[in-house]
């Protein structure tokens, strides 16, 4: 390697590892995020669903009604007459549910709903009419309603219910969906913050201007930034994969060569975008703004955490050509579906193309002084 290129890359490594905060955000944060989200969505168990029972009679507002104890089979229980009751239903994964009922006045129920402490409340009684009050656009509230309604009905029905057989095949867990998304996000962040923001900062400090006033070739300078971050980004991905491998038992199903190609093309795309967005920015506020304006839409739309197929149909073709979507889909395909080199060539060429266009445009516009 060219000795000055080597020296520049080493200097950037020193600067990176001497900033503990930067090291954490690069290496620690993706792992912590994978752990938290993986745990939160993969091993949920039965979520405790809080339900308010609104009593019409203010005199007995602190006690749960008798019909609830009858329906939940706790009529002879010591809890009878108490203000709070937990009820667990279902035998198999898929139809299990846990409810916690609390007696409240309507006013208290509205407040609890606003605070997110409950997602629905029940009014009335089975003799008159039971009313379920919830926001129909809230998916969690609707699920609570369906589970509760089923549970109440089953208590009085002897019909044979449909069987639920949990799926346990490789690659369908939420964490299998999540880890490739986090890897793609980590590549995007490594480039936009690691290259783009660093160059903006050098310009703000007037160090960029000082460096280009030496005989150092500008291409060597830019390559050193790209190379440094590529090594760090590969290390970040590897660390995240090792964690996912041991903690979540995630295996790469597809070709390693395809994985290397997708990593390289994704890296080139975001490195090019980083050069373009850093090309003219001259102050901190514009720098943050430019990077956020590029990352935030992709962060939301590209299916990192949840599938973008829930978006309106007209939007999906646009989402699918976003570089982060292409990168995420390719990584997800290799890791969870086991696709090979042939299937990732097209998106990889697209990513290389985006990188090349942005890099060329960025260099043309670049404000070195």
């Amino acid at each position: 390697m060219n000795s000055i290129l080597f020296q520049l890359v080493i200097s950037q490594f020193k600067l990176f590892f001497r900033e503990p905060g930067v090291v954490f955000w690069s290496f620690g944060f993706p792992v912590v995020m994978a752990w938290i989200l993986g745990i939160a969505f993969a091993n949920k168990g039965e979520i405790l669903r809080n339900v308010a029972i609104v009593t019409e009679n203010p005199a007995v507002v602190s006690a749960l009604p008798k019909w609830l104890h009858e329906k939940s089979g706790t009529v002879d229980n010591q809890l009878s007459g108490e203000a709070e009751l937990e009820w667990e239903v279902g035998m198999n994964a898929g139809d299990q549910a846990r409810f916690r009922f609390r007696a409240m006045s309507e006013e208290e129920a509205v407040l609890a709903l606003k605070r997110g402490q409950i997602s629905l409340w029940i009014e009335g009684s089975p003799e008159t009419n039971l009313s379920y009050r919830f926001d129909p656009d809230n998916a969690d509230a609707r699920l609570t309603y369906l589970l509760l309604e089923t549970a109440f009905r089953e208590k009085i029905s002897s019909e044979i219910k449909a069987e639920i057989r949990p799926l346990t095949m490789v690659g369908i867990r939420y964490v299998d969906f999540l880890i490739p998304g986090l890897m793609a996000m980590s590549i995007m962040n490594a480039c936009l913050w690691g290259i783009g923001w660093n160059l903006i900062e050098l310009r703000i400090k007037k160090l960029l201007r000082r460096i280009v006033a030496t005989p150092l070739r500008k291409s060597i300078f830019l390559i050193s930034h790209g190379l440094n971050r590529m090594i760090l980004s590969a290390a970040e991905m590897l660390l995240l994969y090792i964690f996912a491998y041991f903690y979540f038992d995630i295996r790469i199903q597809g070709s390693l060569l395809a994985l290397a190609l997708v990593f390289l093309s994704g890296y080139c795309a975001f490195a090019g975008i980083a050069i373009l967005i850093s090309s003219r920015v001259q102050n901190t506020q514009s720098g943050y703004g430019m990077i956020n304006i590029v990352t935030m839409p992709m962060f939301i739309l590209s299916g990192i955490f949840f599938s973008y197929h829930n978006f309106p149909d007209w939007l999906i073709p646009y989402v699918e050509v976003l570089p982060l979507t292409m990168l995420t889909n390719s990584l997800r395909g290799i890791i969870t579906e086991g696709i090979g080199l042939a299937q990732v060539i097209q998106p990889s060429l697209g990513l290389f193309g985006i990188g090349a266009v942005c890099f060329a445009l960025g260099l043309k516009l670049y404000l070195w002084h």
């Binding site: 000795s3 000055i4 020296q7 520049l8 200097s11 020193k14 600067l15 001497r18 900033e19 400090k205 007037k206 160090l207 201007r209 000082r210 460096i211 006033a213 030496t214 005989p215 150092l216 002084h369």
Partner: protein, 306 residues
Amino acid sequence: MTIEVRNVCKSFKDVDAVRNVSLRVESGEALALLGPNGAGKTTLVEMIEGVQIPDSGEIKILEKTWAKDEHFLRKEIGLALQETRFQDRLTVEETLGLFAGFYGLNQVRTREVLEIIQLESKRDTWVVQLSGGQRQRLALGIAILPRPQILILDEPTTGLDPNARRDLWKILEDFKSTGTTLILTTHYMEEAEFLCERIVMMDQGEILADGTLAQLLDKFGEGDLIEYVIDGSNPTDETNLLGGVLSCRWDSETGQGNLTVNSISETLPKFLDLIKNSEVSLTSLECRRRTLDDLFLAMSGRHLDE
């Protein structure tokens, strides 16, 4: 000749930063560009450094131009820009070593420069932990690393305390003996007087005066000054009668006045007699030689430190 600037103009939006400036700097010469903020000094040196491109006119350095010989000129010019902030978490030696690498220099030169800028004891200190003066010395060290034929320093001591300023002057004074051509921009007249034989005064993008300190003072600043503050009515009606007075000024609101005289020793006793015999009392008196700031004030109506 080392540098030739011919009819150079540069504008930014609606501001004419440099207006038709011509300048020749000989090899080994030490030249100060002196002027207040906004005079056009930095824009002019940035064009000489190849950082800005002139709108019109021509700049030749060592008989070469930036358009054709950028790589050669980058090796021959050492510069310290205004307000460069080096990487906080690299040490002094690592920073020098990195820049030495850009010029293809080895560690021996890094150590030599560490000694010249008197930062050997700080070699392992992070840049963020250096004082303002030490950072400016580091910037100077980077400028002199390649043993440049031309050294350009843009306000190297702005914002430094007097001790740090004198430390930097001492290093520069020693370095001048190597025969390097020095161009320095400053708004401190003492700095220009101390470090440079030739002084070019600039204001509003134009050169107002060019010469040695003695030439400038002789040409534009004849006479010495008697400055005074009095409490009472105006005695200046009679000051012209004192003899040897070239000009006089009086501000009735503040009581401040000054006399430009041929000889302080000749005029001062007569002035004191005049005060004694009049109905006023003298609250302040200062006699001094005229300075570059007085010249600049006379030429532009502004002070150098404005």
